[in-house]
Amino acid sequence: MKRLLGGLAAGLLFGAGLSISGMINPAKVIGFLDIAGAWDPSLAFVMLGAVAVTAIGYRTVLRRGQPMFEPRFTLPTRRDIDPSLLLGASLFGIGWGLGGYCPGPALAGLGFGGLETYAFVAAMLAGMIAARWYANRQSTADGARRAS
């Protein structure tokens, strides 16, 4: 139950941040990515504010032995720069440039009833399922190669 409240509190803050910062608006995001057009640097300020607060906050929080509602911190451990990271980031960036939405703002826009937002989120979820299927197939194939 406490973990639910942790998730809800963080989600509310995140959604408020996306709305206030203007990232909820795909046209504004495209305005940032369009450096050759009427460039709107606002998104750089979103990143600056978010990274600064997170960097300082993480320093303090991770000094604790454990989080408040869980026995331990769950942190990424991988350090390798693999082809999936580069291919995945490239495809994501192309999609971001095409639509002006990344996952957070698309979810934040769901409450406003735009058909484009529904279509984008449905396609995004389908893409996520496809990526999981693809990754599973890759790891099964790798396992088979190693076994043979």
């Binding site: 998730g7 959604g15 504004k28 990515l33 960036g93 095409l98 957070g104 893409g127």
Partner: protein
């Protein structure tokens, strides 16, 4: 630069950072939207931490609506892409963020804040791809 909103964007960004700190302090988790969302898409059996993921996504959806009630003004949400391109964009964003283990939040905010090399490289790649795609679509194809 007529749409430039440095203060609102800086403040909104700080709230996103606060969200990441709160999720780490309370649940010990990285605030990566693509990973948290994809964690809900497993159809094989039960996901042990489904509850907080649903609560997190619900919070993201509810907060902008709550702000409308508080402030009386709706945020601008405008699309520059036609529907077919929006759907293609969704597929690419979904597939790419899972294949690359993160999006703007997980890599761009949390990962960079942790000085993760993987996240710094991923962010540089998706920013570059986003800027290049926007240039091609808006200046080479549409702009002529």
């Amino acid at each position: 630069m007529e749409n430039f909103t440095p203060l609102a964007s800086l403040f909104g960004g700080a709230l996103i950072g606060l969200s990441a700190v709160v999720l780490m302090l309370l649940n010990g988790r990285i605030a990566g939207i693509s990973g948290i969302t994809a964690g809900l898409l497993s159809f094989s059996g039960s996901v042990p931490d489904r509850g907080w993921r649903i609560a997190f996504v619900a919070g993201i959806v509810i907060a902008p609506l709550a702000l409308v009630l508080l402030t009386g003004s709706r945020p601008d949400i405008a699309f520059v892409a036609p529907m077919s391109m929006t759907i293609a964009a969704g597929l690419l964003v979904g597939f790419g963020t899972i294949l690359g283990n993160g999006c703007t939040s997980g890599h761009g905010v949390c990962g960079i804040a942790r000085l993760s090399t993987r996240s710094i490289i991923a962010t540089a790649v998706f920013m570059t791809a986003g800027i290049a795609t926007t240039f091609i679509v808006r200046h080479l194809i549409v702009g002529g």
